[in-house]
C-alpha cells in the first residue's frame, strides 16, 4: 500500500497574462521507506506539484486530481484537517536555508513551538525532544544550540536544523525541495548522507526534488522525471539514470560533463524548456527532440509501463540501450 498516491494532479495558476497550467496531469506513487526522486529543471512544475499537496498554493490556483496520503485525499481535506497533517505526518524542507528559519526566534523556540503544537507536550518534554532532534542531525552541542539564533550558523548547519524541525514530530513523509542546491558540494555530501541515514534508521520516506541528477543518483530508489508539468519517465533509479529511455532524460544526462569526453564540447539540448503558457502541442518536448516524428505533435503521449518503468514516449528511440 503506497504511502502517497498522486493521480491526475493538475494545477492552474492565474498570471497577469492569463491562466497557466503549471502541473498538467501528474501520476506517481511513493512507497513507504523509499527515497523518491523528482527530477526536472526550473519551470517543470516539480515544486508546484508538492506545494499543491500541502495546500501552500496561492488562493487563485485551481487544483484537480487526487493525492492520497496514508488513506486520505489531501486535496479534498478541509484546511483545519490539512493543517493537522502537515508538520505532523507530512513535513517539508525548502531550498534556501537562509530564509527557511525564523530569524528572530531562537532555535529552541522554533523547535519546541512546533513540537508542542502538534504533540501537545509540556515544556520540559518538548525541550528534551528538541535536543534529541538536533542530535539526530549531528549538530554539535545541541543544548547550547537551543538558545542560539539562525544567523549564527552556516548554510549547511541551518539546513540540518531545518531538517531537525521537519522531523521533530516524526512524520511519515519528508518532502525536500532542492535541499542542497544552495550549499557547497562538501556540505551537500553531508546532507545527502544524513538523509540516507535517517531513511535507513527510522524508515522515513523521502520525496527529494532536485534538478541535480548526481544527487538523485546517490540516494534515490526511484525517480520521476518532470518536463513542462508532466511526468515523462519514471522507474527505478539504476534504470532511469543508468539507462534512460526518454530522449529528455537522455539529453539531461548527456549535457552533464563526462570525464571521458573532456576534450569535446558539452552536448546541450537545443532550445529551452517552454514556459507554462507556451507549451507545444502533443509531446511538450518534441520541438527539441532529435527523434521527433510528425505524430509527436498530435497527442500528449500517455505514461505507459514498459519493462519495469513507465515512459511517455511512443517513439521510444532508445529502447535498444536499455536492459530488457
Amino acid at each position: 500500500m503506497s504511502l502517497l498516491d498522486v493521480d491526475g494532479l493538475r494545477v492552474r495558476l492565474q498570471t497577469p497574462d492569463g491562466a497557466a497550467t503549471v502541473v498538467d496531469g501528474i501520476d506517481y506513487r511513493v512507497e513507504p521507506g523509499e527515497v523518491f526522486g523528482i527530477a526536472g529543471e526550473s519551470g517543470s512544475g516539480k515544486t508546484m506539484s508538492v506545494l499543491a499537496l500541502m495546500g501552500l498554493l496561492p488562493q487563485a490556483a485551481a487544483v484537480e486530481g487526487r493525492a492520497v496520503f496514508d488513506g486520505q485525499d489531501l486535496l479534498r481535506l478541509p484546511p483545519s484537517k490539512l493543517r493537522r497533517i502537515c508538520g505532523r505526518e507530512l513535513a517539508m524542507v525548502f531550498q534556501d536555508p537562509m530564509t527557511s528559519l525564523h530569524p528572530m526566534l531562537s532555535i529552541g523556540t522554533q523547535l519546541t513551538d512546533h513540537v508542542r503544537l502538534h504533540l501537545g507536550l509540556g515544556r520540559r518534554a518538548a525541550a528534551e525532544l528538541a535536543v534529541e532532534a538536533l542530535r539526530e542531525v549531528r549538530i554539535p552541542d545541541p543544548e547550547s544550540t537551543l538558545k542560539a539564533f539562525p544567523h549564527q550558523f552556516s548554510g549547511g548547519m541551518r539546513q540540518r536544523i531545518a531538517i531537525a524541525v521537519a522531523l521533530a514530530c516524526r512524520p511519515k513523509l519528508l518532502v525536500a525541495d532542492e535541499p542542497t542546491t544552495a550549499l557547497d558540494v562538501t556540505v551537500q555530501a553531508g546532507i545527502i548522507r544524513l538523509l540516507d541515514r535517517l531513511r535507513n534508521e527510522s524508515g522515513l520516506t523521502i520525496v527529494l526534488i532536485t534538478h541535480d541528477l548526481g544527487v538523485l543518483s546517490s540516494i534515490a530508489d526511484r525517480v520521476a522525471v518532470f518536463y513542462a508539468g508532466r511526468v515523462v519517465e519514471t522507474g527505478r533509479r539504476p534504470d532511469i539514470l543508468g539507462h534512460p529511455r526518454h530522449p529528455y532524460t537522455r539529453g539531461l544526462l548527456d549535457a552533464l560533463p563526462h570525464p571521458e569526453a573532456a576534450a569535446t564540447p558539452l552536448i546541450a539540448i537545443q532550445g529551452a524548456p517552454p514556459t507554462p503558457r507556451h507549451v507545444p502541442p502533443g509531446c511538450a518536448f518534441h520541438p527539441r527532440c532529435a527523434y521527433a516524428r510528425p505524430s509527436c505533435a498530435e497527442a500528449i503521449p500517455p505514461l505507459v509501463p514498459v519493462n519495469g518503468r513507465a515512459l511517455a514516449c511512443p517513439v521510444d528511440p532508445l529502447r535498444t540501450g536499455a536492459p530488457s
Binding site: 529543471e41 526550473s42 552556516s154 548554510g155 549547511g156 548547519m157 557547497d184 558540494v185 562538501t186 556540505v187 551537500q188 555530501a189 553531508g190 545527502i192 548522507r193 540516507d196 534538478h211 541535480d212 541528477l213 548526481g214 544527487v215 538523485l216 543518483s217 546517490s218 540516494i219 533509479r237 539504476p238 534504470d239 532511469i240 539514470l241 543508468g242 539507462h243 539531461l252 544526462l253 549535457a255 552533464l256 560533463p257 563526462h258 570525464p259 571521458e260 569526453a261 573532456a262 564540447p265 558539452l266 552536448i267 546541450a268 539540448i269 532550445g271 529551452a272 524548456p273
Partner: protein
Amino acid sequence: MSGLELTDVVVEYERRGLPPVRAVAGASLDVQRGAIVGLVGESGCGKSTLARAAVGMVAPHSGTIRFEGQEVKPLTRGARPHDQVRLQMVFQNPFSSLNPRRRVGEQIGDALAVLGLASRSQRATRIAQLLGQVGLPEAAARGYPHQFSGGQRQRIAIARALAASPSVIVLDEPLASLDASAQAQIANLLVELARELELGLLLISHDLAIVRHVADTVAVMYLGRIAETAPARELWAKPLHPYSEALIGAVPHADGSGTMPEALPGEVPDPSRPPPGCRFHPRCSYAFDRCRSDEPALIGLAPARSAACWLQRPGAPLEAPSIQSASRLARPGAAQ
C-alpha cells in the same frame, strides 16, 4: 609576458572596531593568452574577491597583480587606463550585470565608442559581428535586457567584454545563475572563443564538473589561499592536496549507481580566525604535527603542478597514506 599574473595577493576587508579580515591571504595565479584556468573553491574561500582584485575593482593590501607586464591599478573615479582595458570581466548574475534601461546594442557598443575602436558608421557592423560570435542574431541589438533569457543575457555580457578586444577575461561564476541547458551552451561558447580568439580565461566556479571539462589548468582555493594547481585531467586523476581530494570525492555522479559522495567533516573556519599552521589541518585526515604549527607555501612539484601541503615535502611521516590512492576515486566504469 602577456597575460595576467597574480603574485602573493592579499586582500583585506575592514571591519569596524575589529581587525581586518583577510579574504585572500596570499594567492598566486597565472593566466596566459589562450589558456583556460579554472579557480574552484567553496563559499568563503575568497575566489570572488580574488577575481575582483585581479581586474582592479578592489585594491589588494599587498602582493602584485600584473597584466601584460604592467601593474594593474585599482579603479578610481577617473577612466581606466586604456592599456588595461584588454583585461575584462564577466559577472555572475546576468540579470544585474546589464543596464535594464539601455538597449543591448548600445551596451555592447560602449567599448567601441570609448576606446575608439570603430567609427560611428562601422559600429553597427561590429556589434552585429560580436553578437554573431556569441550566437545571437543581429536583431538582438535593438532589444532591452529584460526581453532575453538568462543564458542569452550572459552571451550579451560576453559580447560586451569581447568588444574591448581583450586578451584575458575573468569570469566570476558565469554559469551559476543559469539552468543546465544554458550552462552547457555557455561553457561551449567560452571554450570556442578562447580557442578562436586566443583568449586567456580565468573561470571562477564552484561547479567542479564543468571546470574539469572546460579548463586546461585548475587552481583549488581554500580559506584565502591556493591549495593546489594542476592541469585539469591530472588534478582529477591524482590530487596532491587533501582538500582537492575531498572536494573531488564530494561531487556526486549521475550514473545511477547509488554511490554516495564523500563528506568532509567539520566546517569552514571563520576567515578572520584561521587555524594555526595549515589552514586545512583541522579537517584533514592526513594531518600530522608539522601541519598544526607551520603553514605550507605553494611550491612547484612538477611542471605545471604545485601544492601547499607538507605531505608533499621531505620530512612527511612515512606512514602518512599516499593521497594518490586510486581506489578513492574509482567509479564503476569511469575512465582514469
